[in-house]
């Protein structure tokens, strides 16, 4: 895992370990007071699991296309060029892989429609990919070759996985140029053609939904983003 300073002078660290008070209402979820937007008209049930490190459980209502998006204030994040921006999370698909989907990172969608702006980790029935989408265009790469994943590509049910995106470089639009992905500390692929613009707005986001008419479970141990401070 990458290391970074923890003082705000050097950069912004947004993270949630999901050890908080009892509230799971919108605007009050976790340490960050996440807001909730229902996906497809049927919100998930949120709860906390007893654990050393804090776990948020998101359980969909069992209707295909339903779920929840957790987010901070809309359109208040833009991504600067350069090295050091990191998005990482530790997640588990609780009961089954099939029809269990999420998009976690920084992006602009609160529906099942793929974001048009953002950088995120994408899980479709456990199969992992990572994306960067911007007003200059989209790019996506499938995770591959990770020894802790089934066939190197797919999350294992009821197993924690650490997923990390590292942004670097500067593209022609003034945004980050490259996105490297690591899963369980193993290199999982790289996007070298980010077309994200420095003016593209997005928000911190955890989006989870199901496609199989069976309640799906996503457990989140932590959510963390580090954004170096620009001159």
């Amino acid at each position: 895992m990458a290391e970074f300073p923890l003082g705000p002078k050097e950069g912004t660290r947004v993270f949630d370990d999901f050890h908080s008070n009892a509230s799971v209402a919108t605007g009050l979820v976790g340490n960050l007071d996440w807001e909730i937007t229902a996906v497809g008209g049927g919100a998930s049930t949120l709860s906390y699991l007893a654990s050393p490190n804090g776990i948020l459980k998101m359980t969909t209502d069992g209707t295909t296309g339903h779920g929840s998006a957790l987010h901070l204030m809309a359109d208040k994040v833009v991504l600067a060029p350069g090295d050091g921006t990191i998005i990482r999370t530790r997640v588990r698909l609780g009961t089954q892989i099939a029809n269990n989907l999420f998009r976690i990172g920084i992006h602009d969608s609160v529906t099942t429609t793929e974001p048009t702006k953002g950088v995120w980790i994408d899980c479709a029935a456990g199969v992992l990919s990572f994306d960067v989408a911007g007003s200059g265009g989209d790019a996506s790469v499938n995770v591959g070759g990770v020894t802790t994943l089934t066939s190197g590509t797919t999350m294992v049910v009821d197993t924690w996985h650490d997923i990390e995106l590292r942004l670097s470089g500067r593209n022609v639009y003034g945004g980050p140029a490259n996105v490297r992905c690591f899963v369980d500390d193993e290199y999982a692929g790289e996007i070298k053609t980010s077309l994200l613009k420095s003016v593209d707005t997005m928000e911190f986001k955890i989006l989870h939904w199901d496609t199989g008419n069976v309640a799906q479970v996503l457990d989140i141990d932590y959510y963390e983003v580090y954004l170096p401070r620009n001159p």
Binding site: G7, P8, M73, A74, K76, V77
Partner: protein, 239 residues
């Protein structure tokens, strides 16, 4: 900044706000720290600016003397011993305020740090940085004697003293040594990483109360914008 600034809670209290939060901007819910807001004459308009690092913008209303104070719990802070650090990153944005009128340094004022008042009047107790139309000073105010230093010789400031419109400035106060009544004795100021001076003879007492504070107001009679990138304080644990 020394490494012990990022120590754990055993070593001290680390208060900071990057202003990346949910969409609430009402009193008691501003930013990560849920700042309270107190209106000075007519209420300012707070908003968040899209950025990598989170920016809170305070737009003071148009009558001279208008502004807003953001505070945490009143009288919740005393300064004991030494080692305290306050720092922030602030800007007067070159933003459009009304039609083609742009933001200005003129009459655009703030006090930031630790202080006890939520008005345009200077704190009677506190340790804080002040900007009077961009001219920077820092003050230790207390019930006995106030001491103020004037920022000078900073190459990133106009004339070494004055903030530049639309430029971010890093401001920092470091409190060192202990005075005869158990509170900090020396307060040095840094601007954009450059030493800006030191005040000595602070006779702040260790039982004088204040709060984490951001006060912005204008006395020009025009809408005035002020941006805060982050607010941060480190208070070592004693006793």
């Amino acid at each position: 900044m020394s490494d012990d600034f990022i120590g754990g809670s055993k070593d001290g209290t680390h208060i900071f706000d990057d202003f990346h939060s949910n969409s609430a901007i009402t009193t008691g819910l501003v930013g990560n720290l849920n700042w309270d807001m107190t209106t000075i004459a007519h209420a300012s308009t707070p908003s968040f600016v899209a950025s990598p690092n989170g920016v809170l913008r305070l737009a003071a209303a148009a009558a001279s003397g208008d502004g807003e104070a953001l505070t945490l719990k009143a009288d919740g802070v005393v300064l004991v011993g030494d080692g305290q650090v306050f720092r922030c990153r602030v800007r007067y944005p070159n933003s459009v305020t009304t039609g083609v009128v742009r933001n200005s340094l003129t009459g655009n004022n703030f006090r930031i740090g630790f202080g006890n008042l939520v008005t345009a009047v200077e704190h009677s107790v506190g340790v804080f940085l002040s900007s009077d139309a961009g001219v920077l000073t820092w003050t230790c105010a207390n019930t006995t004697t106030d001491v103020t230093g004037t920022v000078t010789g900073i190459p990133t400031l106009t004339g070494g003293t004055t903030m530049v419109l639309d430029k971010w400035h890093d401001l920092e106060l470091r409190l060192t040594e202990t005075n005869v009544v158990g509170a900090p004795y020396k307060i040095s100021c840094l601007v954009d990483g450059y030493p800006a001076g030191e005040i000595v003879t602070a006779v702040l007492a260790a039982n004088e109360t204040m709060e984490f504070s951001i006060v912005h107001y204008q006395d020009s009679g025009a809408i005035a914008h002020f941006d805060i990138d982050y607010y941060e304080a480190w208070i070592p644990r004693f006793g």
